[in-house]
Symmetry: C2
Subunit: 492 residues, 2 copies
């Protein structure tokens, strides 16, 4: 059967785009740069949301909802933040359409319904939220505020790609307010760790924790923590960021609190977010030339059962054979689908579930019924085996755990063999083109050098790893002294 999917080695980028569409995850819409997240893709996102939401609540956060629109005057308030997002924001200028006097059935913007102040569709919500926190915070008793929001945001990107970079995307954004610098810093680091735990344990994607350089920081942050992942084409992907905002937004919106001693102090802040971009990381880390490979913990369908039969009578026998298994799996919280569509052949179904990354596939034919067996195929290794009825439940449970561990380990091995220490700029440039991956190199700490390297090679500093050792060295570009290696890579 034709797999119909461009291979990764042939054209990685094309492979990704095709896979997202063919696996029914998402597609482009009629609105420039905006995607439609299809039910199968959305089901994965829902599972990600549920886990993240649980983790946020376990760490003391509650959800709330703030307006989609940011009045221009609020947007301007924190200057660096405004500067960072001004070039890519959708602006609402009118609040009414009227019928076109010149063309029947057409509508035009009503010039009489022009807003006094333009509204920005939120690209991120610091401004609107800190304008609200101002009224919520008077004294130290009102702190900390630990709030998260699940929302859509809009950034008018010129080059978009499904999940990775879209004009509108879904995300969560945490916004916290604290009495002290130490507490806000601790919160920002804590949430980076929550993200790392989620991405590694649920998405099975290994990440490196680090700090962004000044030029890669979130606009308006004093420090940005990040987690960086490595894709199969040797390019890095920023999977989540958590920002220590200092007192920047408190100062922009005049948010002060009375300390226990009665002094007035500006409030300290953090914000942190992950988005539907994680879907891109999930897809690109594990999938192969046959299609999607999903970690069992996030797969909407963990086990699919395909009957092999001729006629309704044989199908009925399969149904009877699998019924106790289906019930037992459901009891154990394993999501199982029995695909008894008579409009498609077993071969078509095998292909479809491979493409959709269902971790475990069972096939049940007439001989299996006679022998009380199941044919079990695992998606990650594309291997098959025959398992007897008395073993099948335990086997599946173990298999789901094995697959989760296996794809993580595979990704970890790939990532680890794609961190290379380089000590000269020539070596740096060569490796970047031949092998890719993270290049661990000394850098002189200046934005100028960083910018030059970026211009010349397209590689950026992904992060200064939190666990980077002190090591005397010289910058690969300027030859100036350096005490730490940082990670460079081309990135999504």
């Amino acid at each position: 059967m034709s797999k119909n999917l461009t291979s990764r080695s042939e054209d990685y980028s094309k492979w990704y785009n095709e896979l997202v569409v063919k696996a029914d995850l998402a597609e482009s819409s009629g609105v420039r740069g905006c995607m439609v997240i299809k039910p199968y893709g959305y089901a994965i996102w829902e599972k990600m949301q549920a886990e993240l939401d649980r983790m946020f609540k376990e760490t003391g956060h509650t959800n709330a909802y703030f307006p989609l629109f940011v009045p221009k005057s609020y947007f301007e308030a924190e200057e660096k933040n405004a500067e960072g997002f001004a070039k890519e924001c959708a602006v609402v200028t009118h609040y009414r359409l009227k019928t076109d006097p010149n063309e029947k059935g057409k509508l035009i913007v009503d010039p009489e319904a022009k807003l006094e102040e333009e509204l920005i569709v939120r690209p991120t919500s610091e401004a609107i939220i800190w304008s609200t926190y101002k009224n919520w915070i008077q004294s130290y008793r009102d702190l900390p505020i630990l709030i998260n929001q699940w929302a859509n945001v809009v950034r008018w990107e010129m080059r978009t790609r499904l999940f990775l970079r879209t004009a509108e995307f879904l995300w969560q954004e945490g916004h916290t307010a604290h009495a002290t610098k130490a507490e806000a810093l601790e919160e920002a680091e804590k949430m980076m760790n929550v993200y790392a735990t989620f991405v590694e344990n649920f998405m099975a994607v290994p990440v490196i924790k680090g700090l962004k350089t000044e030029s890669e920081r979130f606009a308006g942050a004093d420090e940005t923590f990040c987690i960086e992942a490595m894709m199969q084409d040797g390019k890095a992907l920023q999977a989540g960021t958590s920002h220590f905002l200092g007192q920047n937004f408190a100062k922009a919106f005049e948010v002060k609190y009375a300390t226990k001693e009665g002094k007035q102090e500006y409030v300290w802040a953090s914000s942190w977010g992950v988005s539907t971009r994680l879907m891109g990381a999930l897809i690109m880390t594990h999938s192969d030339d046959n299609g999607l490979v999903l970690p069992p913990k996030l797969a909407p369908i963990q086990v699919v059962i395909v009957p092999i039969y001729k006629g309704e009578e044989q199908l009925e026998k399969v149904r009877t054979h699998i019924q106790p298994l289906v019930e037992e799996l459901k009891k154990r919280g394993i999501s199982v689908k029995f695909d008894d569509r008579d409009t498609q052949s077993p071969g078509f179904k095998f292909h479809e579930y491979e493409l959709k990354g269902v971790p475990v596939r069972l096939a049940v034919g007439q001989r299996d019924i006679e022998n009380n067996t199941f044919e079990v195929a695992r998606r990650d290794t594309l291997t098959k085996e025959t398992v007897t009825g008395d073993q099948i439940v335990a086997h599946i449970q173990q298999l789901l755990e094995d697959i989760q561990a296996n794809i993580y380990n595979k990704a970890l091995e790939y990532r680890n063999t794609h961190i290379t220490e380089v000590n000269s700029y020539d070596e740096f440039k060569e490796l970047l083109e031949t092998k890719g991956g993270f290049l661990s190199a000394h850098w002189d700490g200046t934005p100028e050098t960083e910018e030059r390297i970026k211009e010349e090679t397209k590689a950026t500093i992904r992060c200064i790893p939190l666990d980077a050792k002190e090591e005397a060295g010289v910058c690969i570009y300027s030859g100036k002294p350096s005490t730490k290696r940082v990670l460079f890579a081309k990135a999504y």
Copy 2:
């Protein structure tokens, strides 16, 4: 202690506005007509979402996500729909800001970043979704499509009120596509029933199921099913609508499918939605002059325990006393909060939880510890009793059920005593001013009569009840013959 809340009899509208803010549910934002949903209010909405989402999935629906923006040309496609929403939609015209050359630190819309085609912020998503379904539907095998979306929408209302009518609100919108008219109609009616079940069983708000008249129908629908609730001030509130859209959107977007016989037919559609407006219905149906009254099934905190103590040693004794109870309640899925804040007095806490509608409140003092008792207060009746330790768990479980049933029955009784049959227009006008409620009256079936009555009295036809009996009569306004009574009311 001062309750600080305007009473319902004094000023119902003011009571509502104060309650929403004081109970920490929501507040107005700096963006005209947009609200901030605060953590406590959002926690209730999350519980509503979880139940509804479960019910949608049980009836075969899956979630997906479609773009926030609707290009103007899509928006125009279904003419009635466009006409219905054109007057209240937010329009994005530009995609960039730039620094103001005349004023440092200010931004202005960049005139060079004008969109070729304006984008409408979705007031509802039929247009964007049917432009997508067009590509998903070729044959009868692709049908039905049963999709729901949780999203924010924007309708630029001139007079807004927290939860009841806001420029931006949160909702879910189901959009289904079917091969036959019968199936689409059945779907629309089924989802109205799902809404009714949810609103009655979880929100404890009784509703009347009915059909809208032509002039009250959703713009673009052939038939609108609705559920109507009655508030404590005698005004009706539309709690949910489900629309049979006929082939209107299929025709607007040229969505046809090949039947089994190979004929090309237009697809049939339904759409249905409930929104954060339900929060308004919940608040107004049950609450009293002391504050919010929440149905236990939707209360974020079902049981609160307030310790009465002096000093850390006594508090520790309370803690020990309640520990087994807290664990037992959690085991049974009951959410319980132990409020050991030492910054507030017990009296302050009692007042706060009354205001916030927590269904069951326990107080535990030193004598309770000696006697192994708990003082139990229920929010709906404001009554108290003393319960012994061996009875307390069963007592609380029963109490939560009793409160859920009691507030429903109370609302049902109020609603039932506020449906009055009227047979003359004078009686109609008088009752509308004195008693309010639903007025069950004969109507001649014409939009003209409906419009006149609305102009003269502000009462609208809330619905033609699905269970309305055939009954010969004459229209209260025109005297023309009528075969059914319809329900009029002033409404939110």
